[in-house]
């Protein structure tokens, strides 16, 4: 499990949820973080949120009954997953840059 790549959507959702956020907030935040490159569609986001909740990588914050305003936040397990992913991504970039000799 630890050496499996996260999808771009999941990676950016987890990053967004370092602070509490609701669904639409995540969409806007991801678009902003990626300078407009990653535009999460609502159906994809909804599916990802439910899977992440099941995995325990995020939790939904109590308080809001209205699902429109429901906020989510990353868990320690989610953070751990992100850290592992960043190590993996770093390896990809270091190997790629070294072999292709891409200048920084």
């Amino acid at each position: 499990m630890s050496n499996t790549a996260l999808t771009e959507a999941v990676y950016y959702i987890l990053l967004s949820l370092m602070q509490p956020m609701h669904g639409y907030g995540i969409m806007q935040n991801v678009e902003q973080l990626s300078n407009g490159r990653v535009k999460l569609a609502a159906g994809t986001l909804y599916g990802a949120i439910n899977t992440l909740l099941e995995k325990g990588w995020i939790i939904s914050l109590p308080g809001e009954k209205d699902s429109r305003k429901k906020e989510y936040q990353i868990t320690d397990q989610g953070k751990q997953t992100l850290e592992t992913e960043i190590i993996r991504l770093r390896e990809l970039i270091e190997n790629g840059s070294r072999i292709l000799e891409v200048k920084k």
């Binding site: 999808t7 669904g23 639409y24 969409m27 569609a41 609502a42 994809t44 909804y46 209205d66 699902s67």
Partner: protein, 179 residues
């Protein structure tokens, strides 16, 4: 002003249906309600709306579907209506792009759901059809010749499923290279 257009799309051509609805929206006719082969439009600014349709996991009034619809509404989409398990949405173009799925994995998962839905109807029609055709032959009862209609739907549905399975295969191949 409202106008109704009757048009038939085979269920596996949901992409074509969506494309057509968006062409209508681009011309200034925005979808406001749906029924069996029936689409009602109202005048809007040309290109004011983008339309998406989706086969929900459950019937539209099921709490899970309601939760999903509310979620979409919170992202700026407007729920137009339903036909069986199909839900129709529109969103103002100025509020950004409108797609329901943005990566290969979620598109494939969704397509698999659509294939199961059509396959179930197809298999049911084939079973009923074969059964009734045999009864018709044995009993020479006219009523049971209706079984040929089920059989025809079954064969047509099989064709549709094959089409979608091919599409899924192409997407999976693509998914080996890109997300």
């Amino acid at each position: 002003m409202r106008q109704t257009i009757h048009k038939l799309f085979w269920v596996w051509n949901f992409d074509k249906e969506e494309k057509w609805l968006n062409e209508m929206a681009a011309k200034g006719l925005s979808l406001v309600s749906v029924g069996f082969c029936k689409y009602e439009f109202e005048d809007s600014m040309p290109g004011e709306y983008k339309v998406c349709l989706q086969l929900l996991d459950k019937m539209p009034h099921h709490p899970e579907s309601q939760k999903y619809i509310e979620f979409l509404e919170a992202t700026g989409a407007e729920h137009i209506g339903n036909f069986t398990r199909w839900a129709y949405f529109r969103k103002k173009s100025k509020d950004g792009e409108f797609e329901l799925f943005s990566d290969n994995a979620s598109r494939i998962k969704y397509l698999s759901g659509v294939i199961s839905f059509i396959a179930l109807i197809t298999v049911a029609n084939c079973i009923v059809g074969i059964n009734n055709v045999f009864l018709a032959i044995n009993l020479s009862s006219l009523v049971n010749y209706l079984g040929f209609i089920n059989l025809a739907i079954g064969i047509w549905g099989t064709f549709g499923c094959i089409k979608l399975l091919r599409k899924r295969k192409r997407m999976k191949q693509e998914g080996q290279l890109f997300e």
